[in-house]
């Protein structure tokens, strides 16, 4: 055996290898649809995302869930094909095609073997331009949405997210994360058709393609697949800003039978296109965005209170939030909240160390490269830049901008943006059991789970 001494210290890194950022090509179709292509020939496969600015934020106030139901029904049959025929046509290509809505936009996502790209694009065009919204399909989707809603209401993390959004976003439409049984009942097929006609237009959409295809070929195929799709000059409403918070409050969702308490703690935060976002992202990562983070090492590794504890910044267009989350056994709910608040307070007092900052930068830049190793990851980055109105060159300059952040910048941003005495504490669990444990943190309000 080739005997060598045991290496007792970590080997130093080699020279950093350059990350060649994927080359981005862009064109606009005759009908006004913007298309962004990143040619990726590593596998004979293509990932596509058609993004339409029509999210739950566009739901009329009395119809939460309309964007979601419209996206769901979009793929349930076209004017040419019934839902079964459409699904079969997609799946025979070895493709997937599905649509869903988030807060800011809806996405028609597809993947396909490269050899079948043209056929898949034709199906995508067909379903986006001429969906049927057939009465029986809409009826079934509505019935299943109501059942799904009832099922979601049994899940503690759903209840926590629902209450948290209400508390944080107030009258802003981000406060609604799901439809209601009443709103679903009030959506006949014509309401979906009107929503579709208003928002699903080429001038309100963007097609991102990552995969084994060149620009010339793609342009021809897209022009053909989306021929006849007409721009309509979409306008977007503005919304009242979410309320600013002045004190800490506790919001318990009473869920009898819970063996754990689901905690969400936080308040509003900058949006991704604000200058404070990136330094706060670094801070949030050091606090609870990775396995070696402060919250993880304290609440999980030292105290053993939770399996999962973390913090994150949301990435939405109109308002952001800073949130810490954990699921803990009921007896330690109070102690866990105290530790989590204490970690934020510590950041306010002393910021983060130079060493911690460096390692967090390395982490974020490393994860950035890892994200770019998949087609879906590249598509996701491009969509974020376009939908969140991030500056041009965001991807190209990301690593430099992370690198430029100093401990002073962090300290200032933390002082400006994180306030333990204004956080909302949402807890899903047995109210009777956890109320006394959470009362020390602020005025308590209890709502039922169902």
């Amino acid at each position: 055996m080739n005997r060598t001494a045991v290496v007792t210290t970590p080997p130093p890194p080699g020279a950093l290898r350059p990350l060649v950022l994927p080359k981005r090509e862009e064109f606009v179709t005759v009908g006004g649809l913007r298309v962004i292509l990143v040619e990726d020939r590593r596998v004979p496969f293509v990932t596509l995302r058609l993004v339409v600015r029509a999210g739950s934020v566009h739901d009329p106030a009395e119809l939460p869930g309309l964007a979601g139901l419209t996206a769901h029904c979009l793929t349930q049959g076209t004017q040419k094909r019934k839902s079964f025929q459409f699904a079969r046509a997609v799946e025979e290509l070895g493709a997937t095609l599905e649509a869903h809505a988030n807060r800011d936009y809806s996405t028609v996502s597809a993947t396909v073997l490269a050899e079948n790209l043209d056929a898949l694009l034709r199906l995508m065009g067909e379903t986006v331009i001429t969906p049927a919204f057939a009465p029986d399909e809409v009826e079934l989707a509505k019935e299943n949405t109501v059942q799904t809603l009832r099922y979601q209401r049994t899940q503690p993390h759903f209840l926590a997210r629902e209450r948290y959004a209400q508390v944080i976003f107030g009258k802003h439409p981000y406060s609604r994360i799901a439809p209601t049984e009443e709103s679903i009942a009030a959506m006949p097929p014509d309401t979906l058709r009107e929503f579709h006609a208003r928002y699903y237009t080429p001038d309100n959409s963007l097609l991102v393609v990552v995969g084994a295809v060149d620009a010339e070929h793609l342009q021809k195929a897209v022009e053909k697949a989306f021929a006849g799709w007409e721009p309509r000059g979409v306008t977007h409403e503005t919304h009242e800003a979410p309320p600013s918070r002045t004190r800490r409050t506790v919001h318990i969702v009473d869920r009898p039978g819970s063996v754990q308490v689901n905690l969400l703690i936080g308040h509003l935060a900058p949006r991704p296109n604000e200058p404070d976002f990136l330094p706060l992202e670094v801070t949030t990562t050091a606090l609870g965005g990775r396995t070696g983070s402060r919250l993880f090492m304290n609440v999980r590794e030292q105290k053993g209170f939770a399996y999962d504890v973390s913090s994150h910044l949301s990435e939405h267009r109109e308002a952001g939030s800073f949130t810490m989350s954990a699921q803990v056994r009921p007896e330690v709910a109070g102690e866990a909240v105290e530790e989590m608040l204490k970690e934020v307070e510590l950041l306010r007092q002393s910021g983060i160390t130079e060493k911690e900052l460096d390692s967090t930068k390395n982490y974020l830049n490393g994860v950035f490269s890892i994200r770019l190793s998949t087609q879906g990851g590249i598509a996701g980055e491009i969509i974020a830049i376009e939908m969140l109105e991030l500056p041009r060159g965001y991807m190209e300059t990301y690593r430099e901008r992370v690198q430029a952040i100093t401990p002073e910048v962090i300290r200032e941003v933390v002082q400006r943006r994180l306030f333990t005495d204004r956080m909302a504490i949402v807890a899903v669990g047995e109210a009777e059991q956890i109320r006394p444990l959470l009362e020390p943190f602020g005025e308590v309000e209890v709502t039922p789970a169902m």
């Binding site: 080739n2 060598t4 290496v7 007792t8 210290t9 970590p10 080997p11 890194p13 080699g14 950093l16 590593r42 596998v43 004979p44 496969f45 079964f84 699904a87 079969r88 997609v90 799946e91 025979e92 290509l93 070895g94 493709a95 997937t96 073997l113 490269a114 050899e115 079948n116 019935e143 059942q147 099922y151 049994t154 899940q155 084994a212 009898p256 039978g257 819970s258 754990q260 070696g292 993880f296 090492m297 590794e301 030292q302 053993g304 399996y307 699921q327 390692s359 390395n362 982490y363 830049n365 490393g366 994860v367 490269s369 890892i370 770019l372 190793s373 998949t374 087609q375 879906g376 169902m450």
Partner: protein
């Protein structure tokens, strides 16, 4: 269908075995400066004796608690501070650890994996602490989620007869409480030896240099006596088994069905994998069409072939509307299976299933970092084929075995395995407050 010709795609690799028995698989791809390091150990819940369930998984947590030159907590920070991500996962069949790193940090990842393979250090405090973490993991994943226990644990306990296959990875909390430091040390010696593991490295690497580093860090870790093989054979049961469970967190009924099917190496498994796509994969799949679309009785239908090394299960899980009966749902599932048994499958359905399988190779089936488009996806596939099948070449050649399956073979496996006397049926009744019964 007038499609263009499929483009060929192969993963390049090389296989090496060190003198201590460690098998090493390397695969170069320089498109992104990222490398994935995977260590796959031949130990899982199947190796646990009665009274020690959950131990393999608890042990996985211990692997992050420190070794001779890496203090508690440092494992995470060495990786993440240098721009990487890491995790571990325990299943019935295996335990796997991985790091994805910037490629200039490859040697660091190898040093970390070697240090804990050589010299894991555990103490009572860490053991107690991780026991609590695992208990929270169980509360989070199992005890506080509707259907999780019934579908993820009880179904297997009922469907398998051999303890090695039947008991859950998360195990019983009483068994975890009984685990001692000595158990941890013995488990480490027996199973975490180089001759019981495969190391797979894929991504932006230079194979010669990589192999040099592997020898430097892993080369002198002593091999151990190979562990006793586990008997995972399943007896034929010859009759249906039925059970009922009230889920106090669920507000909808569900039925779970499992049929026993042959081990990984059996040729029948390829036909079963295609039948899986025909019944379950996508909205045009037979069971979705029947239960969700035509009868409008189910909210979701899922299931398929559970890919274990030993005897597997072919499962179906249907969450359905409260005004439907268990009998009606079961009838529809069995009726669709009988149609396959009697009339076989259509040629275009078979072609769809094969195209879906080809696409799944690239897309990956368990999240954004899986599939052969990512370094981690390639490293894991190479490691599995090397450990389970003794042949990494299968990463490129196995696809053909799926593509060769005929409609007759699918009909044949449906007839042989998806029969009443070979199945376990679990009715899950909603027991949540406000559930309609």
């Amino acid at each position: 269908m007038p499609a263009k010709k499929a483009e060929p795609f192969n993963v390049p690799y090389s296989l090496h075995t060190l003198e201590n028995g460690l098998r090493v698989v390397l695969s170069e791809d320089h498109s992104v400066p990222v490398v994935a390091v995977v260590v796959l150990y031949d130990v899982g819940a199947r190796n646990e004796p009665p009274g020690r369930t959950g131990f393999a998984h608890l042990f996985e947590h211990m692997m992050f608690q420190g070794s001779a030159h890496v203090k508690k907590g440092e494992y995470f920070s060495f990786v993440e501070d240098n721009g990487g991500v890491l995790n571990g996962m325990t299943s019935n069949d295996f335990t796997i650890y991985f790091e994805i790193m910037p490629s200039n940090q490859l040697e660091l990842a190898l040093w970390l994996e070697a240090d804990r393979m050589r010299s894991l250090q555990v103490n009572q405090e860490n053991l107690d602490n991780q026991r609590e973490v695992v208990k929270e993991e169980k509360r989070l994943r199992v005890d506080n989620q509707p259907f999780s226990y019934a579908r993820g644990i009880l179904l297997y306990e009922l469907a398998y007869d051999n303890f090695a296959n039947a008991h859950s990875v998360i195990g019983s909390m009483e068994d975890l409480d009984a685990a001692t430091l000595e158990d941890v040390q013995r488990f480490f010696r027996t199973y975490y030896a180089p001759n019981n593991a495969v190391l797979a490295i894929a991504g932006d690497i230079e194979s010669g240099q990589t192999l040099e580093w592997v020898r430097k860090h892993f080369g002198d870790i002593p091999p151990q006596e190979p562990p006793q093989p586990v008997d995972v054979t399943e007896p034929e049961r010859g009759q249906e088994k039925r059970a009922q469970y009230t889920d106090r967190l669920a507000n909808l009924p569900a039925v779970a069905i499992a049929w026993k099917v042959p081990p990984r190496h059996s040729p029948e498994r390829y036909a079963l994998a295609l039948l899986d796509r025909i019944l379950f994969s996508g909205e045009s799949a037979r069971l979705h069409q029947r239960l969700v679309k035509r009868e409008k009785s189910a909210l979701s239908v899922s299931g398929g072939l559970e890919d274990r090394r030993g005897p597997g299960l072919f499962t179906t899980f249907v969450v359905f509307k409260p005004d439907r009966s268990f009998e009606a749902i079961e009838h529809s599932v069995y009726d669709e299976i009988e149609k396959v048994q009697q009339k076989g499958v259509q040629a275009r359905e078979l072609q769809r299933a094969k195209n879906q399988l080809r696409a799944e190779r690239y897309r990956g089936m368990w999240g954004p970092l899986s599939g052969l488009q990512t370094p981690l996806g390639r490293a894991m596939e190479l490691a599995y084929h090397t450990l389970f099948d003794g042949d990494p070449a299968l990463i490129n050649t196995e696809l053909q075995k799926y593509l060769d399956v005929t409609g007759e073979q699918i009909q044949e496996v449906a007839r042989r395995f998806l029969i009443p006397t070979n199945r376990t049926v679990l009715h899950i009744l909603p027991g949540a407050t406000g559930a309609e019964q």
